[in-house]
């Protein structure tokens, strides 16, 4: 996971109240290290044990969460959703394990930035979605589910979450001039939809869709609330 996304998550959490956190997947344990002393942190990961967690489960996130997993007021899923074949199950599991008013944070590679769209046009694959088949070695980046702002919004809604917000991160800017040009049609389209929106929610959705974070960012950092 890139440093800028980690920093965005930690900066955001500075102002949030929480005491029990689930980090899934927990990877090398950067989140537990970043939240030392702020909360008790549990972790779930397919491969790694990491220090700093109250409890850690070795578990496949394509399956329902472990039965003895507790309830939390914050669940972080950083760079995990693109690896699972059943993302809706995972988000629904998060929803169930959150207390009312609890928050989920999801970070994942964004396939909406112009260079990714251009690569898709020419190759049919997105960047960071390698064409691996068969048994994958532990830790290999087998990304199988690509995410954009609308797709992630849709799945969070289907899982029951509200107040879905996209957090801008430092890399939410075009790296090359041609990316700025390529983003223009989508920006115009989203702004048009924003103007025509019939509800405040729809308006907010399209406003976010036209933002730099959605259109130009290399990573999505999204938060949502369990009502």
């Amino acid at each position: 996971m890139q440093l800028s996304s980690k920093q965005t998550v930690l900066d955001f959490l500075k102002d949030q109240p929480f005491s029990a956190v689930l980090d899934a997947p927990s990877g090398a344990g950067w989140l537990a290290a970043g939240l030392t002393g702020c909360a008790t942190v549990d972790g779930i990961d397919l491969y790694a044990d990491a220090p700093g967690y109250r409890k850690i489960w070795r578990h496949d996130l394509d399956l329902p969460l472990p039965a003895d997993c507790g309830s939390y007021d914050l669940i972080c899923c950083c760079e995990g959703l693109e690896h699972v074949g059943n993302p809706l199950l995972l988000l629904r599991e998060f929803f169930q394990r959150l207390t009312a008013g609890g928050r989920v944070i999801v970070t994942t590679p964004n396939v909406w930035y112009p260079q990714a769209r251009l690569q898709y046009l020419l190759r049919g694959f997105f960047p960071s979605f390698p064409s691996l088949v068969g048994k994958i070695a532990p830790g290999t980046h087998m990304h199988i589910t690509p995410w954009s702002w609308p797709q992630l919004y849709l799945y969070l809604k289907l899982a029951g979450f509200t107040e879905i917000k996209l957090l801008p991160e430092p890399l939410s800017e075009a790296k090359h001039f041609h990316e700025k040009l390529l983003a223009i049609p989508a920006q115009i389209h989203s702004r048009k939809r924003e103007r025509r929106a019939k509800t405040a929610e729809e308006q907010e959705f399209w406003k976010t869709a036209s933002s730099s974070a959605a259109l130009l960012g290399r990573h999505l950092v999204v938060t949502a609330i369990k009502p």
């Binding site: 059943n86 046009l121 190759r123 609308p150 289907l158 389209h189 259109l215």
Partner: protein, 247 residues
């Protein structure tokens, strides 16, 4: 969207398979009004079973529909019950299509055949729409309000050929192959215009994957090459066929 060309393409593929692996017991998932079942009976004399989320759509009077919500329930059949399973325009509605592919593998007999279809998000019209607006053809933008997952507005799972093939191979299938229902005429001029770029950048990317990243091998290279093949650049609907290896 007209389903007649899709059914025709599925029957064509089934006909090809029938020459090698004759089938009799046929399961149609997402059977709808039963038209595909009727066509299979007519052409191949199959014994049909139908599975769907409702029986209200079925128009064949004698056809029983087994109800299952495939997002959460397994297929309501015993292991190794069928020679052929079809699922036309179903997987784009499913949040967990990989589990359903594993279920299809379970209910097929060894040597049985699976044929799936879904909107082809690799055709040039779809790729260009994604480039300009961020949405593929037939995939949104979905209504912000909670939509019914069974309607066209319920296309929640855009899946390209490679990931369909990946799921089929992962589930234990072999002989995975793509075809399409029909070419979109409006995509032809775009292909002529973009052909040199697609060929050049495609070849460069393939070379890099093979030499630098070492993510290509004999198993996945044909699947990757198919991503930029003429049928997938022009086809409206992708038809994926696969066989469960005989014991």
């Amino acid at each position: 969207m007209s389903t007649a060309p899709i059914y025709e393409a599925v029957l064509r593929e089934a006909g090809r398979q029938h020459q090698v692996r004759p089938f009799h017991d046929h399961l149609d998932i997402g059977a709808g009004n039963g038209e595909l079942i009727r066509l299979f009976q007519e052409r191949f004399g199959t014994k049909p079973s139908a599975c769907d989320y409702t029986h209200e759509l079925m128009k064949l009077p004698a056809q029983k529909v087994d109800i299952a919500d495939l997002n959460v329930q397994p297929l309501p059949y015993a292991d190794a019950s069928f020679d052929l399973v079809t699922a036309t325009e179903v997987i784009e509605h499913l949040a967990d299509f990989r589990r359903v592919v594993r279920e299809i593998h379970r209910v097929l007999r060894p040597g049985g055949v699976c044929i799936l279809s879904t909107p082809n998000i690799l055709n040039l019209n779809s790729r260009l729409r994604f480039l300009w607006f961020g949405f593929w053809n037939l995939f949104g933008p979905l209504p912000v309000k909670h939509s019914k997952l069974y309607s066209t507005g319920g296309h929640i799972n855009p899946c390209s050929w490679f990931y369909i093939a990946h799921a089929l191979l992962d589930a234990g299938f072999a002989e995975v192959a793509p075809s399409v229902d029909k070419y979109q005429r409006s995509a032809i001029p775009k292909l002529i215009l973009l052909w040199p770029f697609i060929k050049f950048f495609g070849a460069r990317a393939l070379q890099r994957e093979r030499d630098r990243y070492q993510t290509l091998d004999a198993a996945n290279e044909p699947l990757v090459r198919a991503m930029n093949s003429t049928p997938l650049l022009l086809g409206r609907t992708v038809i994926a066929s696969a066989a469960k290896p005989a014991r």
